[in-house]
Symmetry: C2
Subunit: 110 residues, 2 copies
């Protein structure tokens, strides 16, 4: 009935952050190399402010960090967020496999 409310807001933000192609692309890029916000903005057809917002969403989801360097803001990938998302999906996978085993056991009993 009551669903784990506490840390769920973090997971909501995490998966919400992944639910946009532009944001997934940003995560990919900043994992490989360093980009300023404007460096990222140059990659897409949308406005600078729009990209800025996408980066903010990723930052709130712990998928990215920003660090001021001179007048630029450098965006870097944050492994924590990715790991957390992966752990959750791994949990689901584990549950699935348990179910598969249980079914196999039932069939084996016959």
């Amino acid at each position: 009935m009551v669903v784990d409310q506490r840390s769920d807001a973090g997971l909501d933000r995490l998966f919400q952050a992944f639910a946009d192609a532009t944001r997934r692309d940003i995560v990919r890029r900043v994992t490989v190399g360093e980009y300023s916000v404007s460096g990222l903005a140059a990659l897409y057809t949308m406005s600078f402010a729009a990209v800025q917002k996408h980066v903010a969403v990723l930052e709130r989801a712990s998928l990215v960090t920003k660090e001021k360097r001179g007048r630029e803001q450098i965006v870097r990938a944050n492994h924590e967020g990715l790991q957390r998302a992966r752990r959750l999906l791994d949990e689901y996978e584990a549950i699935w496999r348990q179910r598969a085993e249980r079914i196999a056991d039932i069939l084996a009993e016959n």
Copy 2:
């Protein structure tokens, strides 16, 4: 500049589906056992229609399937969706590790 990204609507739907605690709970439950839509609805404080919508979101994201049985609609976990999401996160993880190796190599050169 050009956003090569096949703006994968399927992935958008997938992660969007995970971005809600109720929906994550539904996925967990239907992986373990069988539930009708109303059986699921009984678990939460929200209305039947709201749960129905959540199930629809999960179905469109390929995380769940529905099958009519008498007057009920049985909801089952669909492994495909989960696998697809996991594969994407695994890709990101692989990119991260490549980066880590590359950095280690650069350090080793000195």
